[in-house]
Amino acid sequence: MTVDYFVTRPQFKLAAGVALLFVIVSSFLFSTFVLNSNEEMERHAVTRINRIRDSLVAYEKRWGFDRLLQFVKDTDAWHDDEALISIVDAGDRSVLHTSSEISQPDAWGALGQPHQSLVLGKGFRKHRLFVASSPLSQGRLLVGQSDRKASVYRNLLLTSFALLNATAMASLLLLGMIFSRRSRSRIEAMKSALATFTAGDFDCRINFPGPVDALYELAYAINASLEHTKVLVQNLNYTSSDIAHNLKKPMTRLRQRLELASNGDLGRMEFKRKIEGALEEIDSLIATFEALLNIGQLQSGDMRSRFVDVDITALLTQIIEIYEPMIVDSGHYLETALPAKPVGTVRGDRELLMEMFVNFIENSILHCQSGTTIRIGLQRVKGGINVVISDNGPGVPSSEVENLYRRFYRLDASRAKPGHGLGVPCSVAIAELHGAVVEFGDNKPGLAVTIYFRTDPAAETPQLGLRMRSGLRVVPVSKR
């Protein structure tokens, strides 16, 4: 990977930006500090040399020029304190000079410089000498003060600061490169997986190891979406072939009836019967398409905007009132288990919920022999509401349960009983529109249909697998 590769990555750009900002801010702060410390050192040096100069002048006034010379010579403190004492006679000839670092003429020359100071040394040891002078009885006095020690500390600080900045910049850029590389590889993995999926490999998923970050979260969501898409595509394929297969039979019958009707030998009544039969077939086909359209519309989820709070107890009570005569007249028994107090409401469409419950009740009526007990139960369970419609009829073999979710699937292979095999898929679509889960269980004997409405989103779905519209279980591909 080239430098250009990293430089163009957003993560690297971000890291470089942060590093640059850090350098700018810290440089500004440090410059402010250095300027302030320079002024402070100058003020300190000037105060000190003025004090020394005034003391020496006073000393000379009291004890005379010679005693002053002797005093200066005998005192070693000038060297330790980085002070300089230089005395010339009235003819500007050198009488005394305590510094070996700077010559007497250079020291006296500093008086003509701005701030009466000179820059001494080079590089790391660079420092300033401040001077002040005063006339004596037999000549002139020059007092100097160097900031060498303070300069060394300041230069040390400056070097540390430069090193710190360089380290911070390098670290940030390195981190930027690492994150950039990881992000890049993750994005490439996503692009590759999506391209493979688009090319037709519906089992392809995004897969990469490593820590959980925003891209990992995104990959997880994309994988879930791909899984859902796969199920929808499979459904579409199944549905298309199912539609073609299931429409062929009625179309064949329709054609036969019309062909017979077109036979001129038929009597008027027979002709009418054939035409009426053909119309019945057409009505049946229309009903099939209506049911398919309804399932499609339910799956689109558009109707959720119309949802209201539906009292599920009142709704079931009404349905029982409507269907009790039907159940009794058809030779079945009805058993109800509704709680005395309402169990609460679910957000939904009242008519659709009614259609779903009625469909399951009618399945029990139509598919169970006389003498069967049909039970309608309602109970509040942890996190939701359960509606159970069960019977003690023939039930559904466990191997066939998954097929119940399929469109056009009919347990009655002879197709002797009415129906298009779309009732259960339609009811499951209604349930899913309401965020509910439909589960078919063994009532031992018979079939128990449980419709679980989750009223508490925080609660887990108990015992019931999350189902997609096809009835297939969803298994997250990438698990944390």
Binding site: Y323, D329, G419
Partner: protein, 224 residues
């Protein structure tokens, strides 16, 4: 009845208007939604039969415009858009009934007749009658030959729907919608069961039956 039909498919328009004219109705046909609105506002129709997908102005907008202009004319949608949501939208904008294409003309005619004969509620003391059967709507009291008949609330509603359409066919689907709020076709003979129970109370104890089955369509109640 004076009927305005807004339909852009000439074949459907001809099929329906001919049938309605043969049934004794006066029918005007327009193919454009805007023309339909103008005519619907200017003229005094009893019923508007409206396709949802017409040029000029779509059916929903036509219905909305007619309602916002203060027209209380009955509106029946006759459309290929038969999804649950489509039906709800149609009724939401002020439609009184919704028939999905393709349709049986007999069903359309029954619904047209039912809409045309919608009896306005006259007040608390309204009474509906058929022969010697009498129903006090406000108090839900039913008598026949002055003998009280005990009906369950849903049986009362079923009888009321029949009585309000006295002399006309009430389709099974109309009973399902108006009595129980079903927007779907049940697989069982639930309507027949309830009619049978109603007959057992209203007709069986008496000599003359009032509730009659119209084969393949629905039921009708009339003065025998």
């Amino acid at each position: 009845m004076r009927i305005l039909m807004i339909e852009d498919d000439p074949e459907t328009a001809s099929f329906v208007s001919t049938g309605l004219r043969q049934a004794g109705h006066a029918v005007d046909v327009v193919a454009d939604g805007k023309d339909g609105v103008l005519l619907g506002i200017q003229e005094d129709y009893d019923l508007v039969i409206l396709d949802r997908m017409v040029p000029g102005l779509d059916g929903l907008s036509v219905a909305r415009t007619l309602r916002s202009s203060g027209r209380t004319v009955a509106i029946l949608f006759l459309t290929a858009l038969g999804g649950i949501n489509d039906r709800v939208q149609g009724l939401d904008v002020g439609g009184d009934d919704y028939v999905v294409k393709p349709f049986a003309f007999s069903e359309l005619l029954a619904r047209v007749n039912a809409l045309g004969r919608r009896a306005p509620i006259k007040g608390e003391h309204e009474k509906l009658t058929a022969g010697d059967l009498e129903m006090d709507i406000a108090h839900r009291i039913v008598t026949r030959s002055r003998q009280p008949i005990n009906l369950l609330p849903r049986e009362c509603m079923l009888l009321e729907v029949l009585l309000r359409n006295k002399g006309r066919v009430v389709l099974r689907t109309m009973i399902l919608e108006r009595v129980w709020g079903f927007r779907f076709e049940p697989k069982t003979t639930v309507v027949e069961t309830h009619i049978s129970r109603l007959r057992a109370k209203v007709d069986k104890p008496f000599k003359t039956p009032l509730i009659h089955t119209v084969r393949g369509s629905g039921y009708s109640i009339y003065d025998s």
